[in-house]
């Protein structure tokens, strides 16, 4: 066997020569005080009212500051640009903007910066995905009618009353409204956004601690610290370079090699060895994300009294503890209510609200499903999209758990849909015949956000078309209640209605995870699972 060795040596020599060339080609992105972070290509243009996913949200979080900001640790809404938001009746709000704030191009932030931005976001003409956030404001039905042409350009409920003051009139009482104003959709916009829209999209201008230095769509964005930032939370590093990765595995490998500083989505396959790989530079903290199984209430089979028992039984047949332990390696925790731990108990999170219905109890499950007349249609098909996340693994595990509990290995099967787009399509066309994967990532840390958009009659994300008069009435009451604690209690009453009907089966609370290199310190994730970039120290 002399030949192979010789050939092998030659191959190594060639390989080595090539690698040298390879080494010469690359170049660092970091630089002194600048960190690199993994990113995904934002799906929509980076307009604040058009961004409803995390990747675009990361950028908005760095370049914008709104009236309120959610504390990265507690999730509480604290005044940022708002000097004062006052209301006599929980319906008309008077907002005073702090003096001295500017956009990074020097333009002062005024009441008009907000009102113009909100009018833009609400208008049907601009196709903004987050338009419904302005749905509480008077006149929304004129600028964004359910069908047909819009009959007004601006919201009648918004009025500029001074250079730094404006009033907001809502179409119903909503005491929690000021606390929603930390959401990116409510960010102020400079005049340049309206006068040179294309130019703004190429290089967005905001009022946050960073400004965009360069943006090449689809591959990278460099943000540098804005030295003139007037806020209390300036950047503690010189800048952030966001690099687009198609595959989080590659980003993770790059962190291991020291080629990338921060990966904020540790792939499921690496969770097993992440602690040893990164030597403790790994964070795993609760995020405002709840995974559930939703049901098609437009299908009469699922909208019966018996089906209610079956749903509760199914919930009891799922061994959440085992699945979160073995599949998700504790990056998710079994859910015991319909909100998220990031709200805190004062904010409405109540561990154990689900009670026995969320405990693993095979005997109880069998009994309830039998009493309810068995699984509608004879067999449970859990629909999910197979292209992203590791949904197949957990759906199969949930089915296994149900099959074991019922002693019938054909009771439940997964029903994969090829692409996410098609999955959404089928949901939108009401073509579900059984439970389907539903995940909720909160927009703002309020209990209202975990209930109203999902279970209120005809709400924006009520995909299963669940409807319950008592629930709707309780939510209306809770929104009108000015006392925070009393309002939270009413929302929890509404949540109990969801529980008693098992409108959706809560599965688990999702954590955010991130890994980083030894160059960084003070790395944390906020409740939206976005890294708190401005607090990270480099070197």
């Amino acid at each position: 066997m002399r030949g192979p060795t010789r050939a092998g040596r030659a191959a190594c020599a060639i390989g080595a020569a090539l690698m040298m060339a390879g080494c010469g080609g690359g170049g660092g992105f970091g630089g002194a005080g600048v960190l690199t972070s993994s990113w995904g290509d934002p799906q929509n243009p980076l307009e604040p009212a058009d961004t409803n996913e995390v990747q675009g949200g990361k950028v908005l979080d760095m370049i914008f500051r709104g009236l309120k900001k959610y504390d990265p640790r507690t999730g509480r809404a604290v005044n940022m640009l708002a000097e004062r938001i006052s209301t006599p009746d929980s319906r008309t709000f008077t907002v005073t903007v702090k003096d001295g704030w500017r956009f990074s191009n020097g333009e002062p932030v005024t009441a008009r910066s907000f009102v113009d931005a909100w009018n833009y976001g609400a208008s049907l003409r601009n196709n903004q995905r987050n338009a419904y956030f302005f749905g509480y404001i008077d006149g929304y039905d004129k600028v964004h009618p359910g069908s047909g042409r819009q009959s007004a350009d601006t919201l009648s409920g918004l009025r500029v009353t001074g250079p730094r003051t404006f009033t907001v009139r809502l179409d119903q009482k909503f005491a929690g409204f000021p606390d929603t104003l930390g959401y990116a959709a409510y960010a102020p916009l400079p005049r340049a956004f309206f006068t040179d829209h294309a130019g703004w999209l190429r290089k967005p201008i905001g009022n946050g601690p960073y400004q965009i230095a360069s943006y090449s769509k689809g591959s990278a964005m460099t943000l540098k610290k804005w030295n003139g930032y007037p806020g209390p939370d300036p950047a503690r590093n010189e800048g952030v370079t966001l690099l687009v990765y198609t595959d989080s595995n590659t980003a993770y490998t790059d962190v291991l090699a020291g080629n990338l500083d921060l990966v904020d989505d540790v792939p499921a396959t690496q969770l097993k060895n992440v602690r040893t790989d990164l030597d403790g530079r790994y964070i795993n903290t609760p995020a405002g994300i709840l995974q559930t199984l939703a049901f098609p209430y437009y299908d009469p089979k699922w909208n019966t009294e018996g089906a209610r028992k079956v749903r509760t039984g199914l919930s009891m047949a799922i061994d959440r503890a085992q699945i979160t332990e073995t599949i998700f390696r504790r990056t998710r925790t079994p859910a015991t209510d319909w909100t998220s731990p990031v709200l805190g108990t004062a904010g409405g999170f109540q561990a154990g609200l689900c009670g026995h219905a969320c405990d693993y109890d095979p005997a109880g499950a069998r009994r309830l499903i039998r009493e309810g007349g068995g699984i509608p249609g004879g067999r449970l098909k859990i629909t999910y999209n197979a292209d992203t996340g590791s949904h197949k693994q957990w759906v199969d595990a949930v089915c296994n758990s149900i099959n074991n509990a019922l002693g019938n290995d054909k009771a439940c099967v997964g029903n994969p849909v090829g692409t996410f787009a098609d999955f959404r399509n089928q949901i939108g066309q009401h073509r579900m015949s059984g439970p389907f994967r539903a995940g909720w990532q909160m927009d703002y840390p309020l209990i209202q956000n975990f209930l109203q958009p999902l279970y209120y009659t005809d709400a924006s994300s009520n995909d299963g078309k669940w409807s319950n008069k008592r629930f709707d009435r309780l939510v209306d009451q809770a929104n009108a209640e000015t006392d925070r604690a009393a309002s939270v209690r009413l929302f929890q009453e509404a949540e109990k209605v969801v529980r008693d009907n098992m409108a959706a089966i809560p599965l688990w609370y999702q954590n955010g995870s991130a890994g980083y290199t030894a160059r960084l310190s003070h790395v944390a994730l906020n409740p939206f699972s976005v890294p708190v970039y401005n607090e990270i120290k480099v070197g």
Partner: protein, 307 residues
Amino acid sequence: MGRYVARRLLQMVPVFIGATLLIFLMVNVMGDPIAGLCGERACDPATAAQLKREFGLDQPLWRQYVTYMGNVFTGNFGTAFNGQPVTELMAAAFPVTVRLTVVAILFEIVVGIALGVVTGLRRGHPVDTGVLLATLVVISVPTFVTGLLLQLLLGVSWGWIRPSVSPAAGFGELIVPGLVLASVSLAYVTRLTRTTIAENKRADYVRTATAKGLPRRRVITRHLLRNSLIPVVTFIGTDIGALMGGAIVTERIFNIHGVGYQLYQGILRQNTQTVVGFVTVLVLVFLLANLLVDLLYAVLDPRIRYA
């Protein structure tokens, strides 16, 4: 020759139209693009209807196709859902993928043919056996395994290369990904060259060339290799198209933002315009590469004439 080329170019027209129509239909069967565009939260009906109108999705399918083709002939490939013109995406993606393909093809030509000649001339020799075994291993191991393994070894364990390719994606950075992309084809080229060389080695013209006293090197390069290259050239020619379109796996592993990346994202987000646009260009590349291969035959073997 000129007439032959003209005829071939004309034949491309129906192939081109048929291929684009098929892709267009297939992408549309996947479902409503607006649902994918809106993401996890459904757009409200009014916004969805307006987006449909703006992208022309409320028209019947045949009219969408006619409009699309009309636009394509004026150089307008439509707009991706993130607001970028598809031509802009192409301008960013194709140069990267072309560079990657060039690296891969160079590997195939230089390493593949050289190994093929060496082994073909020494059939049964240990070198031959060794290379044959090596090619067998390369062919049987999937690309993503080779890619991930090289990435981990060279990028993380030994630190010789960066595990991922920077957005600039220069030739230097593309050497390892190019090798990974070329690996399987490279093994085929080696085996193909080896077989034809071994076959032609015993041909009369080789014996004649040796008999009239030509040096061995000249016999091999001018007579033996030139005659043996025809099947290899056919293979490499068709491989150009396959490498450009089929680099999805390699591009994903090394985070290269080329054609494979754009196609992958286009399919995931159900972005009809991106997918049809890129595949249309790939179809053109494939057709042209095939024409080029056919013309190369005449250069390699003067007995082949086109009229």
